[in-house]
Symmetry: C2
Subunit: 207 residues, 2 copies
């Protein structure tokens, strides 16, 4: 039996404004064996953004070479301009070192990751209701009503994908939602489907 077990890949999605970032941050503050996945992008760094912390910044040529070499768990091309992708090696190294890795990503990306990495645990974060999602979008006050309507329509397309996820967490009270995420991590480590080493060791000794 391996001494150290691999970490879990946690894929986190959910509509804008439901507090995914807050939950991820709180989860990491309470657990030092969790890392956030860092995306690669071809867009230029914004002031304050640090290479390898916020993004891995790549030229389009570099990015395309990585695509050709299968170095992404998933990638997408936004608005005919910038590329964004999830470097496979970054995730796999942390998992092999026993860290759990959080990958915050949209529903399309999540589906691609699940295909490339069937062991991933997919969590959908949502507000208690669609009307609450709308209030939160309006409450942010950073967007026009037109933009809010557009984001709300997107949110509705996203919640339709919940059945493709493993877990759904209603982010009503942050502490409770973070506790749910911790429980999911702990429970998933006990899943029989992840315990083939353990089961094998029983079979050998029992003979």
């Amino acid at each position: 039996m391996k001494e150290q077990r691999n970490g879990l890949l946690l894929v986190v999605s959910g509509p804008a404004g439901v507090g995914k970032g807050t939950l991820d941050k709180a989860l990491m503050e309470r657990n030092n064996r969790i890392k956030m996945s860092v995306s690669a992008t071809t867009r230029a760094p914004r002031p304050g953004e640090v290479e390898g912390v916020h993004y891995f910044f790549k030229t389009e040529e570099e990015f395309k070479a990585m695509v050709d070499q299968g170095e992404f768990l998933e990638y997408m091309h936004v608005f005919g301009s910038n590329y964004y992708g999830t470097p496979r090696s970054f995730v796999e190294q942390h998992l092999a070192n026993g860290y759990d890795v959080i990958l915050e990503i949209d529903v399309q990306g999540a589906m691609k990751v699940k295909q490339a990495f069937p062991d991933a645990v997919l969590i959908f974060i949502t507000a208690p209701s669609m009307s609450e999602i709308k209030s939160r979008l309006i409450g942010r006050g950073t967007e026009s009503m037109e933009q809010v309507e557009k984001r709300f329509a997107t949110a509705f397309e996203e919640v339709k994908m919940i059945p493709r996820y493993d877990y759904v967490i209603v982010n009503d009270v942050v502490d409770k939602a973070v506790h749910h995420m911790e429980a999911i991590l702990e429970a998933e480590r006990c899943r029989v489907s992840r315990s083939s080493d353990l089961i094998e060791s029983f079979m050998e000794i029992g003979r």
Copy 2:
């Protein structure tokens, strides 16, 4: 959406001596929304055993009538003498009232319950290794070496069934194992497959 959600049925199995009873008891002491399932039996009450607490005591005639009326989630006939069974109504009433119900049962019974009740969560409790299982059987000091060997052979047949369970918990430190059980309960409540009410409510409001 329903105000109160149904409880979860937790089916707990594992070799003799691994501490299932200790874990169940600790879990119930820490959570007042958990009930133990009470079996029905045709055997005579032993001193101190209370009807409805330790068992529901039935005549063979009563028991067989319950079988005919489909009142058992599972039942078995032991050594050509006594019947044991899990009354369905007791379990279902508690679940409907929002209690989680623990059903401690052998591997054959667990498979029957899963068939009758596909929503059940199956947890296998084990010691860290087969040799540890043997030490614990010997350590109990209540059985002859012949009986220990027989129980050990049974234990090996039982661990072979782990792949049919949802979760496996190694009971090394009781507090840790109980925490795993609590995490499993909390995580299972977040499972998308148990959240059809929530998902439906999103679909309606989003229209």
